[in-house]
Symmetry: C2
Subunit: 194 residues, 2 copies
């Protein structure tokens, strides 16, 4: 998605060979118009897949997921990373290991909002080692729902998350695929469009 | 806002005289079309106020704030409740006391995304005791920005948050004002429309 790649080039800050900071339009400040375009793009790629629900994770997945849900006309459920007083019943949970924080944490979705009739599109802001995506996949499967695919705003293709998900048979649609952050520069995977 | 009130009546769960659970469309599952209508309503109420930025707080404020930002054509910044590795520089912080959790926590916004040239609309999902709103007000003022008003999706009018903010001179626009949750029933404040 060219508009996203240009935004990353213009505003992304390469903090290290591993870390790209996009706090000006996705992870802290949000560009609503770009989120709408991202939502339209995900909706277009999954338009014929019979999606009934989008599952994402707080906080940075919410904006792209809601814009996708608006376009597809389906609800969005966001997994919680932190305990909520009113989120208590019928919890589906998964452990997610954070390589950056080096901590294991629980994510949770109420089973009330996912059923075995659902065909789910999982959306997240970043895909790196794939821990959050695997956690969301686990939760969706616990509900007995099926998975149409995984939509990622920014993929760090030099980390193993994508390949592992693809090997497991999941369709991964990433709107910007980063080949490398070396030498302080963002290089994208060259994709051949059919 | 009648569509929101009907949704609360149909899907809200009164957990006690103090707590209303709206996990089916706002706090856990999100109804994107309703969020768009909420965004349109906030945008309409603040259309002539010269808003340059929207400030909200993760996670449930994000969806209504982004829809409002989309309509007004301005960026959204969400305050973080939890430490982020990439959010480090130039932090504006405030302490927020949670009556429900009985804990004090820090919220933070990077000063990079707020300036003394900004005229801010603060948006949040709930207004009860007003602690989160006061925290956001403090952060916006630390940046030297001015505040156009505070947009609230659901106000618990029987708690003191609104009155305190109005006494301090802030304009509070709440789309659904709840008079009482007694006897397991949602009663709205009767408003006279001019």
């Amino acid at each position: 998605m060219e508009a996203l790649k240009r935004k990353i080039e213009e505003e992304g800050v390469v903090l290290s060979d591993q870390v790209l900071k996009v706090d000006s339009f996705l992870n802290h400040q949000i560009d609503p118009l770009l989120m709408q375009r991202i939502g339209d793009e995900f909706a277009s790629r999954f338009a014929k897949d019979g999606i009934t629900k989008i599952v994402t994770i707080e906080s940075s997945g919410i904006a792209p997921a809601v814009m996708t849900g608006l376009k597809l006309g389906v609800p969005v459920v966001f997994a919680r990373k932190h305990k909520s007083l009113t989120l208590t019943d019928n919890l589906l949970t998964a452990s997610v290991y954070s390589f950056t924080k080096q901590t294991e944490s629980q994510i949770a979705v109420s089973g009330t909002h996912l059923s075995d009739q659902d065909h789910v599109l999982i959306i997240d802001d970043f895909l790196a080692n794939g821990q959050a995506a695997h956690g969301l996949v686990s939760i969706v499967k616990q509900a007995g729902a099926s998975i149409a695919g995984i939509g990622i705003v920014i993929e760090k293709s030099f980390q193993p998350g994508r390949d592992e998900l693809v090997k497991l048979g999941y369709r991964v649609e990433s709107l910007a695929r980063i080949q490398s952050l070396e030498e302080g520069k963002v290089s994208f995977v060259q994709e051949v469009h059919s």
